[in-house]
C-alpha cells in the first residue's frame, strides 16, 4: 500500500470500489461450421452440441439468461439467437452462437481467477468439441481482433476520479503502450457513459495466455492506483471541483423532470464515487452500486422519440423519489472550501 493511501481512512476503501469485477472471455469455433453471423441454420445443432458437452463435464450447467454481470462480458449485447449456459461449479457463463460458436466467460475478482475458471470449462468443452485451429495463427475466430488465443481478459473499473481531473487521456496512452485498451462499458447499448471502463488486452495473437493474463492484471493494478491517487488529489487539492461534481449531480437527480438512461449513468457516476468514499447520507456504497449496475438494464433508452419523453419522465420521477433524502454528510461539508 502506498503511503498516500494510508494517510486517510477513506482511501482504504477506494481499491475495492474502483475495481468492479474481472473477466476472461475465451472465443472458440467448431471446425466444419460457418460462423454464426454467416449462417444461423446450424445454430441449433451447435447449441445442442455445446449443451451436451457441458452436461457431461459440468452437471449443473443449464440454459438460462445472462445476468447483469455477464452482460459486461460482451462488448455489445449478445446477438439474437445466442444461447447462454450457466453452471454452479464455476463462475462461468458459456454463450453459444454469439459472434463465435462458443464464448466461455469467467467472472471473478481478479483476471487470474477469471481466466482459470474459464480455462477449466474451455478445456472440458474441448474434450467433446473440435475447435478450429491452425498452428500459425491459433484459434480461428470470426473477428480478426480475437484470433490466436481467442482470449480477452480484463477488469471493469470505475474511473470517475481520473475522468474528473482530466487524466484519462494519458492513462489510455499508457495502456496503448502496454497493448491494453480501455473500452467504455456498453450497458444496454449506452456507450461512453458512467466512466466505467473495461481494461482489456488489445492483442490476442503472438502472446500466450499467461502473458496476457499477467499483463491485464498489472494494467488494472496500475489504474486502480492512479484512480486512488486521483481521488485523493480531488479531495485534498481540488475540493471545489470534487464537491461541485457531486452536488451538481445530486441536484439534478433530485429535480430533473426528464432523464435519459445515458444521462442518468453520467450522474450516478460521481454519486457512486462519493458514496463509496463515505461522503453521503441516505445512500450507501452498496446501494449506489446496485443502482448503477441494474438501472440501465431495466430502463434502456427508448428509440421511439414520441414515447421517449414518457419513459424519461417516468425514470426521472423514480429517481427524484429515490434521491429525495440523499444529502452530503458532515464529513463532506467539512471538506468543502
Amino acid at each position: 500500500m502506498s503511503p498516500s493511501r494510508r494517510r486517510r481512512g477513506y482511501a482504504d476503501v477506494f481499491e475495492e470500489d474502483v475495481r468492479i469485477s474481472s473477466f476472461a472471455r475465451i472465443s472458440r469455433n467448431i471446425s466444419g461450421y460457418k460462423f454464426p453471423g454467416r449462417d444461423s441454420s446450424s445454430a441449433d445443432a451447435i447449441a445442442a452440441a455445446v449443451g451436451e458437452a457441458l452436461e457431461r463435464e459440468m452437471p449443473s450447467a443449464k440454459e438460462g439468461r445472462a445476468d447483469t454481470a455477464c452482460r459486461s462480458l460482451f462488448s455489445a449485447p449478445p446477438p439474437k439467437g445466442t444461447t447462454v449456459f450457466t453452471m454452479r461449479e464455476e463462475p462461468v457463463v458459456v454463450a453459444a452462437n454469439g459472434t463465435d460458436h462458443v464464448a466461455v466467460c469467467g467472472i471473478a475478482d481478479t483476471p487470474q481467477k477469471a481466466y482459470r475458471a474459464a480455462e477449466k470449462v474451455e478445456e472440458a468443452l474441448g474434450k467433446h468439441l473440435s475447435f478450429a485451429w491452425r498452428p500459425d495463427i491459433g484459434f480461428l475466430t470470426a473477428s480478426p481482433s480475437d484470433v490466436g488465443t481467442g482470449l480477452k481478459v480484463g477488469t471493469v473499473l470505475h474511473l470517475e476520479g481520473l475522468s474528473l481531473i482530466g487524466e484519462m487521456e494519458p492513462c489510455i496512452r499508457g495502456l496503448d503502450a502496454m497493448r491494453m485498451r480501455a473500452e467504455s462499458l456498453d450497458l444496454a447499448g449506452i456507450r461512453q457513459t458512467g466512466h466505467i471502463f473495461r481494461i482489456v488486452n488489445a492483442v490476442t495473437l503472438g502472446e500466450d495466455e499467461q502473458t496476457l493474463v499477467a499483463r491485464s492484471a498489472r494494467a488494472a493494478d496500475a489504474l486502480v492506483e492512479q484512480e486512488t491517487n486521483a481521488r485523493i488529489r480531488l479531495v485534498e487539492e481540488l475540493p471545489r471541483v470534487f464537491s461541485d461534481s457531486v452536488c451538481r449531480a445530486l441536484a439534478i437527480l433530485k429535480s430533473a423532470r426528464l432523464l435519459s438512461a445515458a444521462e442518468l449513468l453520467d450522474l450516478l457516476s460521481p454519486v457512486r464515487m462519493a458514496a463509496s468514499m463515505g461522503f453521503l447520507s441516505g445512500m450507501t456504497a452498496d446501494e449506489a452500486d446496485r443502482m448503477f449496475m441494474s438501472l440501465p438494464i431495466f430502463a434502456p433508452d427508448e428509440p421511439d422519440a414520441d414515447k421517449r419523453d414518457a419513459v424519461d419522465g417516468k425514470r426521472a420521477d423514480e429517481i427524484n423519489r429515490r434521491f429525495a433524502r440523499v444529502v452530503p454528510n458532515n464529513r463532506f461539508i467539512d471538506l468543502m472550501p
Binding site: K34, F35, T99, P135, I137, S143, V147, L205
Partner: protein, 195 residues
C-alpha cells in the same frame, strides 16, 4: 505473396519455410513452402527413386507443366507429388488480386468482411490470408501463435506427422501426399497441450 508469418515448412512442419517451390499449371501458380533442410534433402539426386515416383505419379496426364524451383529447374519428385496433391488447397489462397476475393467454403466475399469486420468460416482465414496478413501484422503482437492448442486433437496430428516422416524416409510419395492432405485438413495443432 504475403502469408501469415513466419510460415512453417510444409514438409517437416518444424522449421521456418525459407524456400518456395512454384509450379505454373493452367495459368495458376501452385506453391509449396519448405525449409532449407527439407529443400536440400528433397533436391538431392536419387536416380532410382526419381524414376519410380514418376512412374507411380500422374505425370503422364499433364506433360506440359512448366516448373520453377526457387527460380529454375525441376522440382524433386516428392515436392511434385505434394504440389499436385495440394493444388486445390493452394488455389484456395492464390486467387487473383483484382476481383473481389471469395471464400470457397462459405461464399463470403472480402468486401463483406471489410464491411462487417467479421469472417464467414474458419476457411476464410486461408482464403483471405493475403488481406488479413498485413492487418494482423499491424494490429497484433506477432503473426505467429503462441499459447494453447486444442487438447484432444494434438495427439492425432503428431501421429500423422510421424507417419509422414516415415513415408518420406521410405520414399513413398503417394502416401506422403495423402498424409500431407490429412494434415492440411486437420484444424489441429502440432504441439501437445501447449501450456
Amino acid at each position: 505473396m504475403i502469408y501469415y508469418q513466419p510460415m512453417k515448412c510444409e514438409i517437416c512442419h518444424k522449421n521456418d519455410a525459407e524456400t518456395v517451390f512454384r509450379r505454373e499449371e493452367d495459368g495458376k501458380t501452385h506453391e509449396l513452402y519448405v525449409c532449407r533442410e527439407c529443400a536440400a534433402r528433397e533436391s538431392r539426386p536419387r536416380p532410382q527413386a526419381q524414376r519410380g515416383a514418376r512412374a507411380r505419379g500422374k505425370s503422364g496426364s499433364r506433360p506440359d507443366v512448366s516448373v520453377t524451383i526457387s527460380g529454375s529447374g525441376n522440382p524433386p519428385p516428392f515436392i511434385e507429388a505434394l504440389l499436385s496433391a495440394t493444388a486445390d488447397l493452394v488455389n484456395h489462397i492464390a486467387e487473383e488480386e483484382d476481383c473481389d476475393l471469395t471464400c470457397r467454403k462459405c461464399g463470403t466475399k472480402w468486401s463483406e468482411v471489410e464491411e462487417k469486420g467479421l469472417l464467414g468460416c474458419p476457411g476464410c482465414w486461408g482464403a483471405f490470408a493475403k488481406k488479413l496478413g498485413p492487418r494482423l501484422q499491424a494490429e497484433q503482437r506477432r503473426v505467429a501463435h503462441t499459447g494453447k492448442s486444442p487438447s484432444g486433437a494434438s495427439q492425432s496430428r503428431k501421429h500423422i506427422e510421424r507417419q509422414l516422416q516415415d513415408a518420406i524416409r521410405k520414399e513413398d510419395y503417394k502416401e506422403a501426399a495423402k498424409l500431407r492432405d490429412m494434415l492440411n485438413a486437420l484444424d489441429a495443432p502440432k504441439e501437445e497441450g501447449g501450456k
